[in-house]
């Protein structure tokens, strides 16, 4: 690689546009420009310095701002497509075939295509994550490639710049030195008063302010990278849990993904606003909508199994605490939070029956069948007994004479019972279901009549753990610091030189807010009697406008 030796004696890396020390234009292109491009201080972006090996080529690809912007656009478009239909985890179906069927049923051919293209799980797809990963690489590589040369360039900058650099600055002026040596002393004093860092050496003054504003974009990128790192950690075990569980009143269940914790639901509570008690302003809404929920709550007991207990050993559970889980008020333990998310009301819990004589209607007694733990037989006294032969919690019909159940949940309970009374000592068999009684062995004398049900509610809970949250927050904070740093501060520089022929040259540069740097310069001009400056950018614009008018 060739270094470029500047006339001032400073050695610059290949690709440099403006000498890092004195600011002379080093390329023909720069020399022909009226104004220099001050982005990255004319330093050589590293991507432009090597282009030989495959690693360099990959590096240069990711270093390109065009590539970075393209990646952002592609990701935005893809992410937008992912919002057209609900993603897989919001769909009320489980299992691949069911999910596929759901998309086709609800959204038609488009839904089917959407599912087949994998857009239904877009954010979890390998290609979307690859895009995010590539954006991460782009952020890191592009930032490194720019911030290091920029840092070196700003660190190395000389107080005295070359005249060719000065006159190519946007704000530039040249004229008589009316105050002699005083010019510099007064300028220096005034610049310091304005909060500038001032360097004064061999007939040149450089006032510089808020250089750190130039690091804003890179701090900003650092925040983004930390954020992406946090998101990446979620994929690793132990950092992120997002599970759901259904629990019925009275049940004790292992909490998924937690180390030996169990939850018992004592009660699910659904409360609604009462017209009498609620503020008057809500009356209209209550009248219009009917009932409005005011509280969803599950009263629970949290248990932990002893250290040495094995799964399945639930007799020695230790109570940790009682709690009421409400919306936005989760049960918290050991980094986990259990949220109230969903509910189902009135699942059957037990059924009451009455045994009676069909002919006389005489009652022989009541029995209650617990649908969770039914008993083998129910003794009604006086020699009357009901034996349970079969229990079908979710009865769907008979198959080869055999009653079928499609799930273990008592959605449609049915029983095969044997009724024994002193009058019928051999027992009579009956099949009892809701609104259906079958007497398989001929007419019975006695019947079991359905009386009543007791129900219970089911709570849908979500178990969450997120150890990456603080990393995401930190990333976001650093991101915002970077934004503020780059937006609310401006890097301003004012150069005041004595030229070879004894004149005074002034130039100024800022990365944004030119009005303010001009105001600063105006104040210095007033005190130190500096030559008037012009904004060459305005001049250029004016000329272009004139040219345009002429040709039209």
């Amino acid at each position: 690689m060739n270094k470029i030796m500047c006339a001032c004696g400073h050695e610059n890396p290949e690709g440099t546009v403006l000498c890092g020390s004195c600011g002379r234009p080093l390329t023909e292109e720069a020399e022909n420009q009226k104004l220099v491009d001050m982005r990255y201080e004319g330093s050589a972006r590293r991507s432009q310095t090597f282009n030989k090996s495959i690693v360099d080529k990959v590096w240069n690809f990711f270093s390109s701002v065009k590539v970075g912007v393209s990646l952002i656009v592609i990701i935005l478009v893809a992410a937008a497509i992912g919002t057209i239909l609900p993603q897989v985890f919001y769909v009320p179906a489980t299992g691949e075939t069911e999910i596929a069927a759901y998309y086709e049923r609800v959204y038609g051919t488009f839904g089917k295509l959407y599912y087949q293209l994998g857009l239904s799980d877009l954010y979890g797809s390998w290609w979307f994550q690859t895009l995010i990963g590539m954006l991460g690489i782009s952020l890191i590589v592009a930032s490194l490639d720019r911030v290091i040369p920029l840092y070196k360039s700003l660190k190395k900058q000389r107080t005295r710049r070359h005249e060719s650099f000065m006159k190519r600055q946007r704000v530039f002026g040249i004229g008589e030195n009316t105050l002699g040596e005083e010019t510099f002393a007064k300028s220096e004093e005034q610049l310091k008063g304005l909060g500038y860092n001032v360097k004064h050496e061999d007939g040149a003054v450089l006032g510089e302010k808020a250089r750190f504003s130039r690091w804003g974009p890179y701090i900003n990128h650092l925040g983004l990278i930390i954020f992406l790192f946090g998101v990446m950690l979620r994929a690793l075990p132990g950092f992120y849990v997002d599970e759901t569980m259904w629990i019925r009143e009275g049940e004790t269940r292992a909490i998924p993904e937690t180390p030996g914790y169990y939850l018992k639901s004592n009660e699910f509570i659904l409360e609604t606003y009462d017209k009498e008690q609620a503020d008057e302003v809500f009356n209209d809404a209550i009248e219009r909508v009917g009932t409005i929920a005011s509280n969803y709550q599950t009263d629970v007991v949290l248990y932990k199994k002893p250290e040495d207990a094995l799964p399945g050993q639930t007799d020695k559970l230790e109570e940790v605490k009682k709690d009421s889980i409400q919306v936005n008020e989760p049960l918290k333990f050991e980094g986990f939070a259990v949220y109230q998310m969903d509910f189902r009301l009135d699942e059957l819990r037990s059924m009451q029956f009455n045994l009676s004589n069909k002919a006389t209607g005489e009652s022989l007694g009541d029995l209650s069948v617990d649908l969770v733990e039914p008993e083998m037989s129910y003794d009604l006294g006086n020699g009357n007994k009901v034996e349970l032969l079969g229990y079908y919690p979710d009865f769907t019909g008979f198959e080869n004479g055999e009653p079928q159940t499609q799930s273990p949940i008592p959605n449609n309970p049915a029983f095969l019972v044997k009724m024994t009374t002193p009058e019928t000592p051999k027992g009579e068999t009956s099949f009892v279901a809701i609104k259906q009684t079958v007497e398989p062995f001929g007419d019975n004398k006695y019947k079991l009549e359905f009386q009543n049900v007791e129900t219970r509610d089911v709570s849908g809970l979500t178990i969450r753990k997120d150890k990456t949250l603080w990393i995401l927050a930190l990333g976001g904070l650093i991101f915002m610091i970077g934004v503020a740093q780059g937006s609310y501060w401006n890097h301003r520089r004012i150069w005041i030189h004595e030229t070879k022929d004894g004149q005074i040259a002034v130039a100024a540069h800022t990365n944004k807010n030119w009005l303010s740097v001009k105001k600063d310069l105006d104040q210095v001009t007033l005190v130190a009697n500096l030559p008037p400056y012009i904004d060459q950018h305005d001049l250029e614009a004016l000329e272009e406008k004139k040219d345009g008018e002429k040709s039209s």
Binding site: V58, W59, G124, G133, G312, E373, M376, G390
Partner: protein, 178 residues
């Protein structure tokens, strides 16, 4: 000169390599997270203890040195019911060769399980996982699921779905202690 160039190449290679490894690993883990069971073949089978219908406690580690044919099932699950008689017959064949059969019912009532075992005349121990904690430890999703546990206590094979009697015999043969 050549030295800085080489340093830079090494630097770039290292940075790119670290990033690529991190990204590939992330994508791989998130892609496989949901689909593959937490347990896989070769893992130590998590120990548990459950009570059977006679009130006897069955602890998995008590069967070390024997193969364990661990079947998860429910009475409402038709393929489970279908394979039960075949399992019972093969249990009789293999119990003297050192293969124990253990059927874990998922949180049903004693009544249903008792009636079911009576109806099918099952002789092998049937335990009930009332709190679904064993189901959770084994990450059981579809029923039936069967785990073959070898005499060393490691998972030899995970079978989801119904098995024929031939399958069952072959699987039990696989975990006979030497």
């Amino acid at each position: 000169m050549a030295q800085t160039k080489q340093q830079r190449l090494i630097m770039r290679t290292v940075i790119l390599a670290v990033l690529v490894v991190a990204i590939v690993y992330t994508i791989f883990t998130s892609a496989t997270k949901e689909k593959v069971a937490v347990l896989s073949v070769g893992d130590e089978a998590p120990d548990f203890t459950l009570v059977d219908l006679n009130g006897d406690e069955h602890r998995l580690s008590d069967y070390k040195g024997q193969g364990v044919f661990l079947n998860f099932w429910g009475t409402w699950c038709k393929p489970c019911a279908k394979e039960m008689p075949a399992m019972d017959r093969q249990y009789e064949v293999f119990k003297d060769k050192g293969v124990q059969t253990l059927a874990v019912n998922i949180a049903q009532s004693d009544f249903e399980v008792q009636r079911f075992t009576d109806q099918y005349g099952l002789d092998f121990p049937v335990v009930i996982d009332k709190t679904k904690s064993v189901m959770d430890a084994y990450n059981i999703n579809p029923l039936p699921t069967t785990m073959l546990i070898n005499p060393q206590g490691k998972i030899e094979k995970i079978i989801t779905g119904e098995m024929t009697e031939q399958d069952i015999a072959a699987f039990m043969e696989q975990i006979v202690p030497e």
